[in-house]
Amino acid sequence: MKTLNRRDFGVDFGLALAAAVLLPVTTARADDIEVHIDNFVFQPAELKIKVGTTVTWTNRDDIPHTVVSAGKFRSKTLDTDDKFSFTFTNAGDYKYFCSLHPQMTGMIKVE
């Protein structure tokens, strides 16, 4: 009986998840955009967001990284699983990179 309940819940959860994924971007909360750092890559490398959106970067590598956009924002050194958030209050293109591994670059387009 328990197993059946759990499975039912799983199905419901799956449907809810599918529904959430299918919702148009504009109705998503504006403050929960995530960028992951995996294998020395920002993922996604390019984002389009609305003014007022907060982006949170999470370092999932075993090596520290930073998130730096010249003159705009600069994270502290992010060790494994550390996060950095920035709220974009002005429209524009924000190129950023990791100041330790400059081959790592990304772009946030704010409109």
Partner: protein, 314 residues
């Protein structure tokens, strides 16, 4: 460190640089042959010692003290193993160079632990910083400890055993999309440092990130490294020692020998052999073999650099 402008001395000196590693945890360089007896290059006691037995020095690199991830949960422990190898050596080397990433996160305690272990070698250590050594908020811990007497962001030169050693910093002001960086100020200083040097003076350049382009996709190279190499082009013997890539790699180009040392902390994959250059987890039993065994033999006027790898275990 003594003066720099001793241009004409020792033109006829012959040098044999031999580099041998022992036990894979560092690189041991031996310099034998004619040692300059003149004049303010090194002090006379040092010169006498060098003349009698040749000069040896060690390179260790990338100790990453504080690293505790699966690739090596105890980087301080393997550093200590490396230092124990050094203290057990039958012939005491003249000094050691450390080519950066002393610590993993530039914490004061990491620097303290590194120093506590490395000082057990009882050797003078000449450091250059890695990018992991400049991570503290005020970027002061490395400079407080190792920056005294250096120029600019921490570069310097000294003479030992008739060889001119130049420690460079290529981990600062990195540009988006770029590689390691020396910068105009440092290149100008280098030009000045080399001015008037006899072309027969053997040169050793050392820096954290390879000064030659190993693999730009992973940032393994120095944007303006070629400009530094251009300045040493006319010298008869140039040796470039780097770390950063946690594996032995070598190249000989004309009179220039490039060599990278292993890490004492964790291995990294060969260029392009993994999705990223991050720490490479190997079987526990294999870790110490990856941390190092290389025997390098370098002779001036020979273009061949021989490296013999010997596993620590087995």
């Amino acid at each position: 460190m003594s003066g720099h402008d001793h241009g004409d001395d020792g033109v006829s000196r012959r040098k044999v640089l031999e580099c041998m590693t022992w036990a894979g945890t560092g690189v041991l360089w031996t310099i034998t042959g004619g040692v300059p007896r003149s004049l303010g290059i090194i002090d006379s006691a040092q010169a006498a010692t060098a003349a009698a037995s040749g000069m040896t020095f060690l390179q260790i690199s990338d100790s990453h003290v504080g690293f505790d991830k699966p690739a090596n949960p105890n980087a301080l422990g393997t550093l200590e193993e490396a230092i124990n190898k050094i203290t057990a050596m039958p012939a005491k080397p003249s000094f050691m160079i450390h080519t950066g990433d002393i610590t993993h996160l530039s914490k004061a305690a990491e620097f303290d632990n590194a120093d506590r272990i490395i000082s057990q070698s009882k050797l003078d250590v000449h450091y250059v910083p890695g990018e992991h050594d400049f991570l503290d908020e005020e970027v002061k811990f490395y400079r407080e400890r190792y920056g005294r007497g250096t120029k600019g962001q921490g570069w310097y030169s000294f003479d030992a055993g008739g060889v001119h050693f130049i420690g460079l910093v290529n981990v600062i002001d990195l540009k988006a999309g770029g590689l390691g960086n020396l910068g105009a100020e440092q290149l100008a200083w280098l030009e000045d440092d080399l001015r008037g040097k006899s072309k027969s003076t053997p040169i050793v350049l050392f820096a954290h990130i390879p000064l030659w382009t190993v693999y730009p996709e992973w940032g393994w190279g120095t944007e303006d490294g070629a400009r530094a190499l251009e300045q040493v082009k006319g010298f008869g013997s140039v040796t470039v020692l780097n770390g950063h890539i946690h594996q032995v790699m070598q190249k000989v180009e004309g009179n220039v020998t490039f060599h990278t040392a292993r890490s004492t902390a964790f291995p990294q994959p060969a260029p392009g052999a993994a999705p990223s250059p991050g720490p490479m987890k190997v079987e526990d039993a294999k870790l110490r073999a990856m941390l190092g065994v290389a025997s390098i033999n370098f002779k001036q006027n020979e273009q061949r650099l021989a490296i013999i790898d010997t596993p620590l275990q087995g």
